[in-house]
Symmetry: C2
């Protein structure tokens, strides 16, 4: 299912075949939290933005509109109109970061809905059932994403529980995939490595979960406040224990520099809200650095956001117009700027793949790593 086409040192250029289409890796997943990209971008726009795979949030969709309803409507693909691969997270991250009054036990987590305060229980089985109802291509394991900083003892206890949860996830998804009325009976389960910033816990965890021979593995619990150097150190520690022939997904990462560093270390898949969040604040990625449209100097700038960009925004609109929309609070600004930043990320991955194919990735990285993440 995952084929490595070529490598450059640890970096891999791969092809990940799924029941909903093939993902060329390294790839960036575009985040559609509540089955919609923030900023007024639709599944049909994503095609134009060179998106290969969409990510939706289990927690949000369970609470609203409800996964049973989405199943009744034919699953996330029919619901959103996106016919390519969809990855759903497990809900774990949101339960631990968004939901107040949570209570963690061996069985699972009880928490209050952030919408209406209703008490909800979610464990590995419930998470799999919800993701099965959503009919995503890839379901993520239900895990505890420990906060940063976390003590060694707590992390060890939590990480071991997350492994036990993973075994329960695997059993439950196998059961669900065997049922006749399951929407996507080929749903794939990815395991998630945890262990905070402790190499030995990370490695032990990875050794354990790799035994399950799942179709993919993620590194979770990074980019939660620790310095980038710590993140790179953990990736370096874990990568040797990740199955080589499975896609490797670094969750919630990151800046263009983070992505270049992680690809260099052997990561294949990414997701991050950064392109859309930065766009909302007027921060737009370009081939020469990040521009801030709040800056008055763009008021009369008739050039596009990035002269080297082929996105619909850059093809049609000037910096001056976009700045006016930003200052006037027009929703059109959000749409145009989110589209640009998503296109930037999706084409950054395209360039990375191109350079891996030509064995020039290291040079591309060296030439661009500072440029792409600097504020100009």
């Amino acid at each position: 299912m995952f084929k490595i086409l070529c490598t450059e040192h640890n970096a891999r250029r791969g092809e990940f075949q799924t029941p909903h289409g093939t993902v060329q890796t390294p790839a960036f997943m575009n985040v559609a939290t509540s089955a919609a990209i923030k900023g007024g971008v639709s599944a049909f726009d994503l095609k134009e933005l060179k998106c290969q795979i969409m990510l939706c949030n289990t927690y949000h969709l369970h609470i609203r509109p409800g996964d049973s309803l989405i199943k009744q409507l034919g699953g996330l693909h029919k619901f959103t109109g996106w016919d390519g691969p969809i990855l759903t997270d497990s809900g774990g991250f949101q339960v631990f970061s968004l939901a107040p009054l949570r209570k963690i036990e061996e069985e699972g987590v009880t928490f209050s809905s952030h919408v209406d305060g209703k008490r909800i229980f979610m464990g590995p089985e419930e998470s799999m059932q919800i993701q099965s109802n959503l009919g995503s291509t890839i379901a993520m394991a239900f895990d505890e994403c420990v906060e940063n900083p976390a003590s060694y003892d707590y992390t060890k206890k939590s990480s071991e529980r997350t492994i036990r949860w993973l075994y329960r996830c695997k059993a439950e998804i196998d059961r669900l995939n065997s049922l006749e009325d399951t929407l996507n009976r080929q749903q794939l389960l990815f395991g998630i490595n945890q262990g905070s910033i402790y190499e030995d816990l990370r490695i032990e965890n990875m050794k354990q979960i790799s035994k399950l021979d799942l179709p993919g593995y993620a590194i979770g619990g990074l980019a939660v406040g620790e310095p980038a150097e710590v993140m790179y150190r953990i990736i370096d520690a874990v990568i040797p224990y990740m199955p080589e022939n499975k896609p490797r997904y670094l969750m919630g990462v990151g800046t263009p520099a983070n992505i270049l560093e992680a690809v260099d270390r052997g990561i294949d898949i990414f997701d991050c809200v950064m392109p859309s969040r930065n766009a909302r604040h007027g921060h737009l990625f370009t081939s020469v650095g990040i521009i801030n449209l709040n800056n008055k100097k763009y008021e009369s700038d008739t050039g596009p956001i990035d002269p080297n960009c082929d996105c619909p925004t850059c093809q049609n609109h000037s910096r001056a117009y976009l700045r006016h929309l930003l200052k006037s609070g027009e929703l059109l600004f959000l749409r145009l700027s989110v589209m640009h930043n998503l296109y930037f990320y999706n084409t950054l991955m395209e360039r990375i793949r191109f350079h891996l194919e030509n064995n020039t990735f290291k040079r591309f990285k060296a030439e661009n790593i500072e440029v792409l993440s600097r504020r100009i």
Copy 2:
């Protein structure tokens, strides 16, 4: 410049040639207040929505980003990316409805900006200068749109002043169009009929302003709170005094029923924020009436908003998905619903034109006037 292709009683099927393209009438102008359609719709989307002519607001653009800047950037067409006809209102309506602490004198109006409170003066000359800077296809005369209700005496005084202002507008636009550095030296001026709900004042005003032989005339100051029957009565009174060979524009109107009634009386052009405002509240126009997506019954409705609609929203998305976006506060809802409602209005005009050509407008009106405006 305005050619009547055929008529059915008082209703007219016409062609209005402008320096930026021909408008098939009856036509509905799509409102882009601050040089952007509300809800995240761009000038390029408007083409797909069968929009023929865009309306921008002089008052808003004068205050932000400033008409001098827009002139420096090449005018509204370059600024927005819309290359078809653009009508700018005069700023009068907004000065009288939005700006606090206004003071009306013969010379013009002093008011406070709704953005930063700055004192601003606008008279007929200033309004023409601003609209000339914006480079719109059609400039509207600077008028006082009296509130409803207004006394006969005040209306008479105001209406006479508005006529004097129109003469000053005409002199100023002629002067501006003769200058070499004017963006659009063929800018057209439309006069505006005022006189509140008083037939004799309306008629006297229309008689006076028609003498100027302007390229078009509008009826202003209606749809400001008076009953629809009063509006129709005023249109009936004024129409016989409007030049037959010039386009007639009914400002700020209205519901599908209002439009059918006004076309029947001889109106050619309309504008209204109703399609976008209704969309924002979840009220969507269909061929069988207005549906309210807040209604729980649409939660699992897999059909499109309107099975008879070819708009991008109806071609791609279900009522269930749109309702989910509405309930989740996703901006994508605004975009998709505004696009649908604008397309509905633009294609309603297309149907009206078709029936006028086939001499079946009266029957079309009778069969649809209640259906299209009813809430189902």
